[in-house]
Amino acid sequence: MRTSKDIDGPLETPVRFVFPQWSNLLLPTVIGAILVVPIYAALVLTYGLSPVTHNVGYMPIQPIPFSHKIHAGELGLDCRYCHNTVEYAAKAAIPPTQTCMTCHAQVQPESEALKPLWESYGEGTAILWQRVHDLPDYVFFDHSAHVERGVGCATCHGRIDEMDVVFQTQPLSMGWCLECHRDPEPNLRPLDEITNLAFDSLRDQTAQVRRGLLDISHISPSEDCSTCHR
């Protein structure tokens, strides 16, 4: 850059400021930024605040390394063997120690992994299982309303029978609930396939069968706010 010192002559002569040549690049840079930054911000905000980013994949460490893959998958136990309240109650109860003991009193009683189970059995204390799926307390949810109407466990919980440690596969956001309440048909299955996680309601039955399920049982989930916020 030229300064007044480089020029001979009286100091009073004002020096003309000349933009350097690179400043021609500023305009495209600024226009580029104006175009790119909003797109960037929009993408980061939508994906960054999305429930899919925040809620899906939550996999807390459990006090006992209980594996659904072994018990529900390989041993073929029905979900209701342990979560027996799911058909008639809002909660799908986490099984009490007694349920594990129907087998583990004999099966691998000396296993290190089962120490907390025996402690709980001996002292009557609770095993501190960590919650995986947890709706906010202002939301009302009812398992029986869904399970008795033909929505299977796999639709909302994924392939639990292939997980060693349970993790959340669905966002459980309001938008997700409403998406199905507006159009439940693709997610309906016969009542005897509810706990069959391998059954795919889209792949294993025709649209006609699903329509039949919808019509015969008059399934019309409500979108009223008071259904879920009561």
Binding site: Y47, P60, A105, P136
Partner: protein
């Protein structure tokens, strides 16, 4: 000079690098599982100071929010004085008939089949010969010293053994309710009526298999395909 001066360039490159951080974090969060719960920036009323089923509560010695009835008390409608229905005992002996509340109707049988498949099949097998997947796995575990870890598995009894066929329905009901020797109790999980439904279905299985054995040439062999053979 046709490029931006260095300080400018560095700042721009710096911004570009910093701008890459959020997408990388987001991509990581979407593609991996996290063991930490999400951070609740805005609490709303997500966690209200109330207790729900199966939540912890430090106010009580056992740490549970759900309370048990005080010992020695009976809730209304829970007296269970009808020993036939609730215990399978009629006239001080195992009941031989089904109680009035659970008559052997097709509905009861269908319910029994469903409940039997959920609660009994894992050990006793689909038809009741004691060959369920849990039995097979437990025997394999017991036979493998590295995996045994003290396993002492008693094979589930076949419900088609003569002594079980001879048992009155009340005794079968009691087996489900209170368990027997190494078999655990199912009274907390299966409702009273469903237990009678299971008994009805077991009787049906026993009759079917007895008839099958009488017809089939291989007398006494477990016939696992029996369901398809029925006329």
């Amino acid at each position: 000079m046709n490029t931006l001066p260095r300080p400018f360039l560095f700042v721009l490159i710096g911004i570009a690098i910093v701008a890459m951080i959020p997408p990388v974090i987001i991509m990581r969060m979407r593609s991996t599982n996290q063991t930490q719960p999400r951070i609740h920036w805005i609490q709303d009323m997500d966690n209200q100071p109330k207790f729900r089923a199966q939540h912890a509560n430090s106010l009580f010695a056992d740490g549970r929010a759900m309370r048990q009835p005080v010992s020695g008390t009976v809730a209304r409608g829970e007296l269970r004085a009808d020993t036939h229905f609730f215990q399978g005992i009629a006239n001080d002996a195992w009941a031989t008939m089904f109680p009035d509340q659970a008559r052997e109707t097709p509905d009861l049988l269908a319910r029994g089949q469903e409940q039997f498949t959920i609660y009994c099949t894992p050990c006793h097998g689909p038809i009741g010969y004691g060959d369920g997947p849990v039995n097979q796995r437990a025997l394999a575990v017991m036979g493998d010293p590295a995996r045994s870890k003290g396993t002492t598995w008693v094979e589930p009894k076949s419900i088609h053994d003569a002594d079980i066929i001879a048992q009155p329905v009340g005794q079968l009901f009691n087996t489900i309710t209170n368990g027997v020797r190494t078999m655990g109790s199912y009274k907390s999980r299966i409702s009273v009526r469903d237990r009678w439904a299971i008994v009805a279905y077991m009787r049906e299985l026993q009759q079917r298999e007895t008839a099958n054995r009488a017809n089939a040439p291989s007398v006494g062999q477990p016939n696992n395909q029996s369901e398809g053979n029925q006329p």
